[in-house]
Symmetry: C2
Subunit: 222 residues, 2 copies
C-alpha cells in the first residue's frame, strides 16, 4: 500500500465514524445513553421519534461500533460501547458551546427567560463537598440514578420533587444535577426549590461528566 492509499483509508474510516455522530437525533441518543442502557422504545420516547426511526439511527451507531446491545428478556438494551464515545461527544459539545454563538445564546436565553438561576461547576461542587455543608440531589429518573450517581447524592426524580420537598434540609445548600448541560430537569428542580425557600443551584454539567473525571460514584445494586 502506498502513502496516499494508506491516508485515504484511514481518513475515510475516521470520517465514517464522524458521520455516524453527525445527526441531531444521534447526538441526543449518545447523550442519553451516557446515562446507562435503554430499550429502543424508551429511547424513541425520550428523543421524540417514531420507534422505527429511532431503530434506524441506532443501527447507524451500532454499525459504527459506537453502541452495543444487551438483550434482557423481550427487550434489547442499547449502551455506549465505551468511554471514548462519551469523551468525543463531550469534545464536540464543548467545541460547539465555545465556537457557535447560537448555542451559547440559546442556552442562556432559555435558562434566563424560564428560570434565571444559579449554577456551579464540577470543581466548585468538589470544594463544597469538602467543606461539608451541601446536599446533592439527583433529579434524573430513578433507573438512571440506580445505574450510577454521585456518591451520597439523594435520588429525587423531578416528577416526584414537589411531593417530596419536605425530605430536604432547609439550611444546607442543595446542588441539583441531571444528565448534562442541556438537561432541563435540574433547572426545573432549582426553580421549584428556590421558590419554596430552599437555597439551591444546578451543576452546570451532568453525571457522565463527573464520572469521566474519576470522581467518586456509587451504583445501586439489585
Amino acid at each position: 500500500m502506498n502513502k496516499r492509499a494508506f491516508k485515504n483509508k484511514v481518513y475515510t474510516e475516521l470520517a465514517r465514524i464522524t458521520k455516524s455522530m453527525a445527526n441531531p437525533h444521534r447526538l441526543e441518543i449518545i447523550e442519553l445513553l451516557a446515562q446507562g442502557e435503554f430499550p429502543v422504545e424508551q429511547i424513541a420516547e425520550q428523543i421524540h421519534l417514531p420507534i422505527a426511526n429511532a431503530s434506524q439511527h441506532l443501527q447507524v451507531l451500532k454499525l459504527a461500533q459506537l453502541v452495543e446491545i444487551n438483550r434482557k428478556g423481550n427487550f434489547i438494551f442499547y449502551r455506549l460501547a465505551n468511554d471514548n464515545v462519551f469523551k468525543t461527544w463531550k469534545a464536540l459539545r464543548e467545541l460547539g458551546v465555545e465556537r457557535i454563538d447560537t448555542i451559547e445564546k440559546v442556552v442562556k436565553e432559555f435558562r434566563k427567560s424560564n428560570f434565571d438561576l444559579k449554577s456551579v461547576t464540577i470543581d466548585e461542587l468538589v470544594e463544597k463537598i469538602k467543606s461539608g455543608k451541601v446536599t446533592i440531589l439527583d433529579v434524573r429518573p430513578e433507573s438512571e440514578y440506580n445505574h450510577g450517581h454521585i456518591t451520597n447524592a439523594i435520588s429525587m426524580p423531578f416528577k416526584d420533587l414537589s411531593k417530596r420537598l419536605k425530605e430536604l434540609p432547609k439550611r444546607k445548600e442543595i446542588i441539583a444535577y441531571c444528565r448534562g448541560p442541556f438537561c432541563v430537569y435540574a433547572d426545573e428542580a432549582v426553580a421549584l426549590l428556590t421558590k419554596s425557600g430552599y437555597k439551591a443551584a444546578r451543576l452546570e454539567e451532568g453525571f457522565p461528566d463527573w464520572q469521566i473525571q474519576n470522581l467518586p460514584v456509587e451504583v445501586t445494586l439489585n
Copy 2:
C-alpha cells in the same frame, strides 16, 4: 421557547458542526492546519485535491467557524480557529483508532510492511529528555517547524535528511516526530536512520499532541 424546541435547536447546531468535520478530506485538512497556517494552494497539494474542491471544503469549515483566514499579500492563509478544534479531532482520532479495527489494522500493517520500526509515546519521550541522552528530530517541512516545534528539536525535513545525516550524533538515540500518528515522514526518517546505523524511533503522535499538553515548545521568529 419550550423544552423540545430548545433541545432541537441545540442538537441541530451541534450536528451542524459535526457534519462540517464528517468528511475524509476535511479531517485531513484539520490535521494539516494543526501544524500552522497554509494558503489554499498548499492545502490542496498536500491533500491531493483540485484547488476549487479544496476551497469548497475550506468554506464548509469556515462557515462552521472551525477555521479562520488571514490574508498576507496575494495569499489567504487558513488556520484552525482555536485549540478546541484540534482537541475534538484528537478525540475522534482516538475513538476511531480504539473502536474501528480497520484503522488500527491498516496503520499497523502499513508500518510493519513498509518499515517495521520502533515508536515511543509522549510520556516516554518526556522521560528520555529528563535523562538527557536523546536527540529530537523534527522532520516536517521547515515552515511547520518555524511555526512551532518541541523545545530543542532539530529541524531536518525528510526530503533533506539523506544529505544531512552526518550532522546527527551516532551515539545518542534519535526520536523523530512529524504531524501526527498518521504522518509518514517520521516512519521514513526512522527507517533511513536505522539503515544508516543510527539508533532511532518515532514519536507515536505529533507536534500538536505535544503542544496541547502544555509541554515545552519554541517558535522561530523572523
